[in-house]
Structure formats: C-alpha cells, structure tokens
Amino acid sequence: MAKGFDIRNIDRRFIFVLVLAAVVWPLLHPLKLPMDVSPPVQVLYDAIEAVPEGSIVMLAADYSPDTMPELQPMAETFIRHAFRRDLRIVVACLWPASPPLVEQALGPLAEEFGKEYGTDYVNLGYMAGGIVTLLGMGASIPETFPADYGGTPVDEIPLMVEVENFDDIAFVMEISAGTPGTREWVQQVQSRFRVTLGSGTTAVGAPNFYPYIQSGQLTGLLGGLKGAAEYELLVGVPGDATSGMDAQSVVHALIVFFIILGNIVYFISRRSEKKSA
C-alpha cells in the first residue's frame, strides 16, 4: 500500500459526496435506463385490469409523509389506473396522517378524469383502532366509518349506499408503510373475508410480504420505488418514481463498486499483514 494514502482510512464524507452526485446527476440529466416489469407488479396490474368496469375498489392508505417518495407515486398511479378504468374508489385509512396525503392525489386526478366526489370516489378518512377497525369493516363499513373525511354522514353519500362490507369491494389496494398495514390486512381481512388484496409497500418492508404472493394471499406487490416505477410504466404515465429510477440504479452501481473495492482492499491488506507477520 502506498505510504501517505490508505484507502481504508478514506474520509466517509467523500463517499457521501459521491452518493449525492450519483443521485443529483441522473435527476438533472436523465439516462433513461431500461426497466423490466417484475411478475408481482404485472400480477397486480392484471388484477386491476380484470375488475369489471363500474366496480368499487378500495384504496387502503396507511402511510405518513416520511415515506411519500416511495408510496405517494403508488397511490397516484393506482387512482389514475382506477379512474381510467371507470372504477369507483373508496379510501379508508388506519394511519391518521394518510387522509390529507391521499387528498393531494385524489383532487387533481378526479379533476383530470372528470370524476365527482360522492359518486365516483369517497375519502372515508382515518379511523382509530387498527386491526379492530379492520374486523369492524368486515361486518359493516358504514358503521365503522359513519362519516367521511369531511364529516358528511356516509348515508348521505351515494357511493356508500352501495357499500355494506368487503363483499361489495372488488379489489383492495393496500399501501402500507408499517403497522397496521399489509400484514394486518392479510391476517385480518384477506384470510377471513377472502377479498382480492394487492399491496404497495416501502422497500424496507417488501421482503416480508413476498411469501404472501406465493401463497396467493396477495394479488401482486409493489416493492418500494422500483415497484412504483414499474407500475407507472404499465399504466403508461411515467411520474416521480420513474424519474427517480435512474438515480436509484446509479447509486446502486456505486454501492456495489464500493462493496467490491472494500473486499479487495480487505483481502490485500490481510495478505500483506500475514506476509509481514
């Protein structure tokens, strides 16, 4: 090893700067790297495509602002997909911070597709109780959510007149950042009421849910930004997730490079230490 410079003692801030550059550069100058669609995303897309026109689907939004970069594109794309197929959307949240985040996506997209609140979509807002709320929805959604996010009683909302429980919901899209989230929906709702359930989760949580795909409990899974970008690709409207995937790929390549470099340096230094001993 050359004297004066030892890569093992490199300042970690040097790595931070490289990671920052690897994120910023592709955002400013998109590389348009190719992207494949993975089977769990394709399954989810196909399942929504198979829902008959005019059916009611549920968006279960259980996330907060800290996970918006990964999960908001999923919510937006699902709403776009559902509106484009003339599906009606019922939004229900188990996280108190979720309803305004969904509103951010619902408002502009409803305007774009000419959808009317109360007839084509409804935001039931947040309900405390976690898994108890899920069980309550299995018996009666209007009794569990007596009013919508704005405080209007659900019996005054035309769309909700058609909804009693999960039997009236053709597909549930659960977008989850933690607990209560996808696991609770699988355990308490899918297994008891046999709803068709798809999920979008943060990348951190995604590996925990792949067994549910194999067992058929989940009908498709969007895992992190990559899953969101693949879904955007299928729906045909590239958004924030797609634009972030170039940066994601470049940073991953950089991290792999550092892992390989670190291992090479480790083995070289171990051999030279053995020799000197």
């Binding site: 910023v24 400013l28 405390a128 898994i131 995604a206 058929g216 930004l225 994601q248």
Partner: protein, 227 residues
C-alpha cells in the same frame, strides 16, 4: 420568466405561502444534511424544531382525529340531536387510568388499561396470525409441486422446500447441532444469510429512495431545475 423570478415567486399562480413553505423546507433540509459534514448548531436547531413540531402535530392530530370523534362528541353530542353513547365512558375511564401512571399512589390502576389492551390485542392477533400466516403458509408450502409447472418452477420449489426445512432445523435446539443435523443447520444459516442480504438490499433501496425524494423536491419544487 427568469429563473430567479421563479425561485422567489414560483410558477404562475403559486400562492406566496407555498413558495415560502418550499424555502423553509429546503433550508431545514440543508440544516439536517449538514450533519453529514459534522455536528453543528444548524443541525441541532432543525432537529429540535422537528421534534417539537412533530410532537405538537401528532398531539393535535390524535386529539382531532381520535379523542374528539371517538370520545368527546359521542358523550357530549350537543345540539346535533344524536343520543349520548354512554358506553364510551368505559374506554374514557381506561384512558384516564393510563395517565395515572404519573401518580405513584394510584399508578397501579394503569395496569388495568394495559391488561385490557394486551388481552384484547392478543386474542385478535393470535387468531389472525394462526389463520392468515401459520396455516396459510404451511398450506402454501405443502402445495409446492415438484413435478409440474416446468423445470424452473420445479427447481425453485425444491430450493424453497429445502430452505424452509434447513432453516427450521437451525431453530431446533433440543439436540446439539452435530453430524447431519449440524450440516443441515449450517445450510439453514446460509439460507438465513441470503434472506438477510435481500432484506438489506431492499433497505438500502428504501433509504436511497428517500434521498431521491428529497433531491426531487430540492431540485424540482424549490430550485426549478427539473423538467
């Protein structure tokens, strides 16, 4: 429209409050990231502000989204004409019991609330886990075919079955891990390491995604440098 004009006024039609909101968010983001260089007063300020605002936000949110609609309004419906829901007194009492932890003489009452929560959630969760996880996953494993679905599916199913078996053997502690049992347990460790590696990879992707989201905000919403 010049870039500087966009920076301070936003795209046409943007309310000034939104533009200044972007500025506050951007400056606080820079303060937080400055910790990567080294600890400094700007980071401390942003951290303290975040903790304070976060606590206040959640308190207000829980008050308006939970306490008011679930307890106060049902007990005091006022002029709405709705009947008083007296049953809500019981969860209200349990909630007050939780707060009694701060008073040593009566803090034991909080155990009643905790006991109720633990008992109720255990009952609901155990049945949900048994039905949704345990039985369903065992059923899915038993259904894995080793003679249909094509060569790739057969190989993948075989790997999954061997992996499940070896990993379960690793967690079998009633016999010392020696001989064949030790070999299978070691194979189980390899499968666990692969699972942890995949999980770590996803975690890296998740953390980088958050950085990308922040940079999209900084370069797009704030600096207007993205298309």
């Amino acid at each position: 429209m010049s870039w500087l004009h966009m920076l301070f006024n936003g795209p046409p039609g943007t309310p000034p409050s939104v533009v200044w909101g972007y500025w506050v968010a951007a400056i606080l983001t820079i303060c937080i990231y400055s910790f990567l260089y080294k600890d400094n007063p700007f980071y401390k300020f942003a951290e303290s502000l975040f903790v304070g605002v976060g606590a206040a936000y959640w308190l207000a949110l829980l008050y308006h989204e939970t306490l008011v609609p679930k307890l106060i309004t049902p007990l005091f419906p006022g002029e709405s004409g709705d009947p008083v829901q007296w049953i809500r007194i019981f969860p209200g009492i349990l909630a007050i019991f939780m707060l009694l932890r701060f008073f040593p003489k009566v803090s034991w009452l909080s155990r009643w609330s905790l006991g109720f929560i633990v008992g109720m959630y255990s009952a609901v969760n155990i049945t949900g886990f048994a039905q949704g996880d345990l039985v369903a996953q065992i059923h899915a494993t038993m259904n894995m075919s080793l003679n249909s679905g094509g060569p790739l599916a057969i190989i993948l199913n075989a790997i999954a079955i061997i992996g499940i078996f070896a990993t379960l053997i690793y967690f079998f502690f009633s016999k010392e891990h020696k001989g064949v049992l030790g070999g299978v347990a070691k194979l189980g460790i390899w499968f666990l390491m692969v699972a942890f590696g995949a999980s770590f990879g996803y975690t890296v992707m998740g953390r980088i995604s958050l950085l990308i989201g922040r940079m999209q905000f900084m370069l797009g919403d704030w600096l207007h440098l993205l298309d």
